[in-house]
Amino acid sequence: MDLNRCEAYAQCAFQAPDVFAMHGEEALMYEPCPGDERREQVMRAAASCPVQAILVEWPGGPAVPEGAATGARG
């Protein structure tokens, strides 16, 4: 989330209320790694944001390649 861009239009909170919520009048709270069952919602939210403040990536998309010295995502 690029909250510098966010102008609190709350479109995301409307499209994906389980993931995005307004906190007070303008501050946006969000779940950074929502589960797969929220995928549709989140994609709609990202598409509806008028200032493109939401960047989405799902597992299966870009990820750290084999051999990375780290644990699993999410």
Binding site: A27, M29, E31, P32, P62, A69, R73
Partner: protein
């Protein structure tokens, strides 16, 4: 050594890019390298064992218990095809031999290097007190996990030392969870170093309105433990003692430059100095052509602000500077770009969305151009030498791009807009009340420093000249 002749094209095709610091700036730079067609070898070195994750939620959603501390991984813009050396610290740099030394003794050769080692939380000054069970800091995901666990255990009182942005967000989260908090702040108000005393007074009211025991002009002189090594109480400079189950030290950040000591780079406590194109300076003030810097650790001159060297501890700066650094790493001279990003950040505390553009600490005066301080919802414009230099909003974020354009176009201060809800003649400027710039404050998120890029002969130029 493909890039030895300085050929950007050779480097782009076959070079070895090494990124030290695998967090926000490091990741976005690596992605930009690939986006711009870098087909060579890419090595990511990070001392944290985790994949790159996002820090802003750590003091917000995570402390509220809404998000796990391990659940803030940064989304990827694209696949990277990189070698990841995570949990591995860089310990030294050999500029002439183009080698990064690693903690295990191994060395990694590079053709071009990006330094993105960021900052860490400034620890509590007395080591034995810092080691007490219950004394915490907040910078990493692991820190956030520890603090969140503490808050889950319902401490009777939390002491927050330092009322900068991080301290205030921690305080806000505690209050939202119904936990009693005392804040000890050396300055006259919260956020005073970043936003000045006028706006700081509003932040103080927010603290009071949310039941925070805010003590300004106070320092913590000692933290005391019980025989089991658990924090018991804090001694304050006014002679009082405060019982607390946890103390969070939020005294700003320290730049991770120790690993560069003796390397010949202009790196020190104020960061790594670089030119507007993100190329690092050496100690002689000569720019290197194969070492680049981005993010919280960088210190670079900004044309909009009199070419002052700015260190910006802002999320947006890390992203923008990483993109410019990566672009310049793979581009020949004439195609290189300067980092001209207009500083901007946000903070959420006590249900208020605080946003800023420009460099408020450079402002001498401010004018409230929308809303009012009394409502705690407003837009304040800061002026410096007759022009608009910054704007800060409390729940007026939508207007910020407008103020950003005023800064970019060096619009006159005090502003006189016909369209804003003010009496004729425009808003009246008042002193912004920044503390004496020569005095340290807790974690201003912008540090202004002198013009000379070399740390050896640098002199401190105060924000107000």
């Amino acid at each position: 050594m493909p890039a030895a002749d300085g050929s950007a094209e050779e480097f782009r095709r076959r070079g070895h890019a090494v990124v030290v610091g695998a967090s926000l700036a490091g990741l976005r730079a690596a992605e930009t390298l690939r986006e711009e067609g870098f087909a060579g070898t890419l090595t990511m070195i990070g001392d944290e064992p985790h994949e790159p994750y996002d820090r802003p939620p750590l003091s917000k959603q995570v402390l509220l218990g809404r998000t796990g501390a391990g659940d803030t991984l940064l989304p990827r813009r694209r696949a990277l095809e990189a070698r990841w050396l995570l949990g591995t610290a860089a310990t030294g740099l050999d500029l002439a031999g183009r080698r990064v030394r690693l903690a295990g003794g191994e060395e990694v050769r590079y053709d071009r290097l990006l330094i993105a080692t960021g900052t860490r939380a400034r620890p509590w000054i007395k080591e034995t007190e810092a080691a007490l069970d219950g004394v915490l800091t907040l910078r990493t995901g692991d820190d956030a996990a520890r603090l969140a666990r503490r808050l889950d255990a319902r401490p009777r009182r939390v002491l927050v030392i330092g009322a900068g942005f991080t301290g205030s967000e921690i305080t806000s989260a505690c209050r939202e969870r119904g936990i009693d908090v005392t804040v000890a702040e050396r300055g006259p108000a919260p956020l005073v170093g970043a936003l000045g005393g006028v706006v700081g007074a509003v932040a103080a009211e927010l603290h009071h309105a949310h039941g925070v025991d805010l003590r300004c002009g106070i320092t913590v002189t000692a933290l005391e433990g019980d025989p089991a090594g658990r924090l018991r109480c804090a001694h304050l400079s006014d002679g009082t003692t405060l019982e607390a189950d946890a103390a969070v030290v939020a005294l700003g950040a320290v730049r991770n430059t120790e690993w560069l000591a003796g390397s010949g780079l202009a790196a020190g406590p104020r960061g790594v100095a670089c030119d507007a194109g993100c190329r690092a300076f050496d100690v002689h003030g000569i720019v290197t052509d194969d070492v680049f810097v981005a993010g919280d650790v960088a210190r670079s001159p900004h044309p909009l602000f009199g070419y002052q060297f700015l260190s910006l501890e802002h999320w947006g700066n890390a992203v923008a500077q990483a993109e410019v650094a990566a672009h310049n790493m793979v581009s020949p001279g004439p195609e290189r770009r300067p980092h001209l990003w207009l500083p901007a950040f946000w903070s959420a505390q006590f249900g208020i969305n605080i946003k800023s553009v420009g460099v408020p600490p450079m402002g001498r005066e401010l004018a409230i151009v929308q809303g009012s301080l009394a409502e705690r919802r407003f837009a304040a414009v800061y002026g410096h030498q007759g022009r608009v230099i910054a704007a800060v909003t409390f729940d007026h974020g939508r207007w910020l791009p407008f103020y950003g354009r005023l800064i970019e176009t060096a619009a006159p201060f005090p502003p006189d807009f016909a369209q804003v809800d003010r009496a004729p003649g425009g808003p009246r400027p008042i002193p912004a009340e920044f503390p004496d710039p020569a005095l340290p404050t807790h974690g201003p998120t912008v540090t202004l420093s002198g013009y000379a890029p070399s740390e050896r002969r640098v002199t401190f130029v105060p924000a107000r000249v």
